[in-house]
Symmetry: C3
Subunit: 131 residues, 3 copies
């Protein structure tokens, strides 16, 4: 298992980490298998979506912020309950097929680390297994 | 890895692909293991839910459409930003246990390809691994 | 594959099952690998989020109930369409890395069984594979 670092600069931010993950896949030497992605944070998540037009990631950020209002009502007193909810909706884990030594992503797909309580220094766990 | 084709006929549509996926599991010869499902599209997703009453899938379609309005405000100019957001909320990947040569689904569960920007011809990646 | 029992006491309830899952990991004897979690129900789900402050789980429950109203409009006549929708949003499967014989969770993370149509007796499928 390798752990990547991700630096975020906004409270809600989708960061394209495709190249970093692809590098882990390449260095694993695995030709065909599975890539396991996991976010060890409770106010962040991992998703796969369009990386061609950066407006899509911005639209996703805006839509999630409108969907889960920061205002509550919430009990947790740290002011980031909405961040926890977004993390649950998007999810902490993803699996992607590896074919020919690369992530078998669709034509428009990229891997996005999702920050919901930034800016912060974050981690992303990656494991590539032949199968 | 096998790639299945899925034809969708509506903009938002849950398509029951359980039989197609079960066929891949059977043809793999794997008795106990894991089935990995992955959607290589940015306006579609994969989920598991009730397949007994088709009204449930229709209710899920309606609820997602109400949850993420098509109207925005969005930046992406293709008129399908809501589709991208739904795709992120439902997710591109799922894993299901395989037991006795079959998907270890619950009694009421089926596997659904989720179309959020149809009608289209879509793909679903499936891999079955013994473990 | 092992199947854990989870008893829920409210209609919408996040139940911390970290210790139960950790026990399966320990008894598997796997040092490094993957833990596969799967919920064989259509009105429940599995997620990973903060287990330090129980208010976070309560806030997530409340936010999901506000996000997906019980009132509909829905077609399915069992009065739990909102439960099915929440199940789709949170998801039936998760994968977590195993390192040193333990779930490689983040500092604040716990594993939560998500009940959306309780109270009920529920099941959670767990498999731990070395890799």
């Amino acid at each position: 298992m390798q752990t990547l670092s991700v630096k975020t600069v906004r409270r809600t931010q989708l960061v394209d980490v495709t190249a970093q993950v692809q590098k882990v896949v390449a260095s694993s030497g695995v030709s065909n298998g599975i890539c396991y992605l996991y976010v060890p944070h409770t106010t962040a998540a991992i998703t796969i979506n369009e990386c061609a037009d950066p407006d899509v990631a911005r639209d996703i950020e805006g839509a999630l912020d409108r969907l889960v209002p920061a205002a509550g009502p919430y009990r947790h007193s740290e002011g980031n309950s909405d961040s926890h909810v977004k993390s649950v909706l998007v999810g902490a884990s993803q699996v992607i097929h590896v074919e020919g030594g690369k992530l078998a992503l669709g034509r428009w797909q990229g891997v996005f680390f999702c920050e919901f309580d930034g800016p912060r220094e974050r981690l992303l766990q990656v494991k590539v297994v032949a199968c």
